[in-house]
């Protein structure tokens, strides 16, 4: 299968998946027993007002009709209007998206650094107590989900030894001169390292909570691949040439051992993004996930739809990128 055909096939399955997500969300939330319109009106509003408002949000039509109208709008970039804030859904969602992207990427970077360091150390010290300790730590880190790690971090570094912020995205007292919502990137571009430090101090705990399980997975798989590679003849050859152990591990074994880990990171990254929903809530971080939970509690149907579709889009795009990167890196798939 050529790369082009592979991409086209993936785009088609992606479209089907997204359509499926849209159908499910749309129909599931319209079975909601509570009437979202009734919650928007002041007490004592007449039948007429209710009917007018229903017509405004399209709730007077049948559900399949509403779906067609909504889908047509979405294809034109119109995701409807939020019921609670009366702002366009797309605008609301896009304003929160950068916060979540920055958090996820920071978590990914932390996970790769910690996981990579543990894998290399474990390989360097294989067969010793150090490797045993790394295995036990990995086992623990994998068994407990990000939500619990978040709470543990809050206790350790928010209360016992309060060195990091455990709530919010940035100190409210700071005056932000930014024109986008990518605060972390923009603070670097504008050389405002005071704001950058404040942002990192807020983001470190939630992103570490998200990173711990992924770091353990990376450490485990990379260490295993490295150990298998260390037994290959070419590695022995490099050793007989007189290279020291560190060189052999990082320069000779690592490039050949890293591919399975890269694929796994891609798959696991979508789980990490899914984890932002509750982690943002836990750390009162103003991202998409926190907004999603508020939207569900307020029964803001158009906003919920928009957020879920966006999450599904991110998931499928990440999967596509992973697949293509893998195909590009793996010669057997590229030419096969």
């Amino acid at each position: 299968m050529t790369l082009i055909r592979r991409i086209l096939l993936r785009l088609l399955t992606m479209a089907i998946t997204l359509f499926g997500v849209a159908v499910i969300v749309f129909f599931v939330i319209r079975v909601v027993p509570g009437n979202p319109i009734a919650m928007m009106l002041p007490p004592g509003a007449g039948e007429e007002d209710i009917a007018r408002l229903k017509a405004l949000y399209g709730f007077d039509k049948t559900i399949p009709e509403q779906f067609v109208i909504w889908l047509t709008g979405v294809l034109h970039g119109d995701f409807g209007t939020s019921i609670t804030t009366r702002q366009p859904v797309l605008q609301l969602v896009l304003s929160r998206l950068p916060a979540t992207i920055e958090l996820s990427i920071m978590a990914l970077v932390i996970a790769v650094i910690i996981g990579g360091a543990l894998a290399l150390t474990g390989t360097r010290r294989r067969g010793t107590r150090v490797e045993g300790a790394i295995d036990v730590t990995n086992g623990m880190a994998l068994s407990v989900p990000d939500f619990l790690w978040g709470l543990v971090l809050i206790l350790l570094f928010g209360v016992l030894w309060p060195v990091f912020h455990i709530s919010g995205r940035v100190s409210p007292a700071l005056d932000l001169p930014f024109s986008t919502n990518f605060y972390l990137f923009e603070s670097v571009l504008r050389l405002r390292f005071d704001i950058w430090a404040d942002l990192v101090s807020h983001m470190f705990m939630p992103s570490l909570a998200l990173a711990i399980p992924l770091a353990a997975i990376i450490a485990q798989l990379l260490k295993q691949s490295l150990k298998e590679t260390m037994h290959l003849d070419y590695v022995t050859l490099a050793r007989t040439k007189g290279y020291d152990e560190n060189h052999v591990i990082t320069r000779e074994a690592l490039p050949n051992a890293v591919l399975p880990t890269l694929t796994l990171i891609g798959v696991q990254f979508t789980f990490l993004i899914g984890g932002t929903v509750i982690i943002e809530r836990l750390f009162s971080y103003e991202g998409l996930g926190n907004m999603a939970i508020d939207a569900v509690i307020n029964r803001d149907l158009p906003l919920i739809q928009g957020i879920v579709i966006l999450f599904a889009l991110i998931f499928t795009v990440v999967n596509l990128v992973v697949d293509l990167t893998y195909a590009a890196l793996n010669p057997r798939l590229r030419h096969g």
């Binding site: 399955t13 089907i16 998946t17 997204l18 499926g20 997500v21 499910i24 969300v25 599931v28 939330i29 079975v31 909601v32 027993p33 086992g139 623990m140 994998l142 068994s143 407990v144 989900p145 939500f147 619990l148 709470l151 543990v152 809050i154 206790l155 928010g158 209360v159 979508t270 993004i273 899914g274 984890g275 932002t276 929903v277 509750i278 809530r281 836990l282 996930g289 999603a292 939970i293 569900v296 509690i297 029964r299 919920i304 957020i307 879920v308 999450f311 599904a312 998931f315 499928t316």
Partner: protein, 283 residues
């Protein structure tokens, strides 16, 4: 090699004993909650609020792990909370396991269009952030124990379906299945009589892990205040309250958190231990 295997075996044994022991303790506590809980878990005493645990000054021996801001006994609430956590783990875990495994078996063994439909559904499910999906379902169905169980089943069946499908597929290609078919067995009964026993160890491992996940999901839902009614103590709601008063009364957060942590860790270690136990190479 024999030595290494002995070491692994010993480690598995200890893991199984420790995690099994904690879970047994918890089950007993849940069953006999009214007998062992020192206080009524709902009884409020606004004058006895935020009492510290027994080893600190100003504590009351009747409230060994202290009291929360409304004066309710932390230990008693943890004990009663175990009822909800374990109930959800047992019921939601089993139902998820039954539905997911059956769909996985059908997809993996029958292949063809059932496999196409089930695999496509799994793909769609994987595009949902699970926590958001759970909260959405609870908002739709309303809070309550039944809603939580349904939400867990609806979301997590794919965990079983994915793994069991792959296993059933590789089992289905083996000679013993072909000979069963040649001998005249119907396909559905071949699936249940020949394939199922061979994937059963995997199902048991997944079920154990799923129970841990169910406990976490329930805790997350009660943390965002979408679990069951507030007059039933749950670990998640205790953690949510503790998170708010963390600087005044750390014990309100710490004790339910430790309980939840140990429980989730135990389910997961039990699952991993069983996996190694069923592994013919290690055995």
């Amino acid at each position: 090699m024999a030595d290494a295997r002995g070491l692994v075996k010993r480690r598995i044994g200890m893991r199984l004993w420790l995690s099994g022991g904690w879970l047994t303790l918890l089950v007993l506590a849940a069953i006999f909650a009214p007998l062992i809980a020192p206080q009524d878990p709902l009884m409020q005493d606004l004058f006895g609020g935020r009492m510290p645990p027994f080893w600190e000054a100003g504590s009351d021996a009747a409230f060994p792990l202290g009291s929360d801001s409304l004066g309710r006994d932390v230990l008693s609430r943890i004990i009663y909370g175990a009822r909800v956590a374990l109930g959800v783990a047992l019921i939601a875990g089993t139902l998820t396991c039954l539905i997911g495994s059956l769909l996985g078996l059908i997809a993996g063994y029958f292949r063809g269009w059932p496999d196409m439909v089930i695999s496509r559904l799994v793909d769609i499910w994987m595009a949902f952030p699970p926590v958001l999906f759970a909260i959405l379902l609870i908002a739709v169905m309303g809070t309550g124990l039944t809603s939580i169980i349904i939400a867990i089943v609806v979301i997590d069946w794919t965990r079983f379906a994915r793994v069991i499908r792959a296993e059933a597929m590789s089992q289905g290609a083996m000679d013993y299945v072909a000979s069963a078919q040649v001998a005249g067995r119907k396909r559905f009964s071949t699936m249940l009589a020949e394939i199922l026993p061979n994937v059963l160890p995997t199902i048991v491992v997944l079920l154990t892990l799923e129970m841990g996940i169910a406990v976490i999901v329930e805790a997350i839902l009660s943390f965002v205040n979408l679990s069951i009614s507030t007059d039933q103590p749950t670990w998640g709601s205790m953690i949510a309250e503790g998170r708010l008063s963390i600087h005044q009364a750390w014990w309100v957060l710490v004790f339910p958190l430790i309980t939840l942590f140990l429980t989730v860790l135990s389910f997961s270690q039990l699952g991993e231990g069983l996996k190694d136990h069923f592994d013919p190479v290690l055995r």
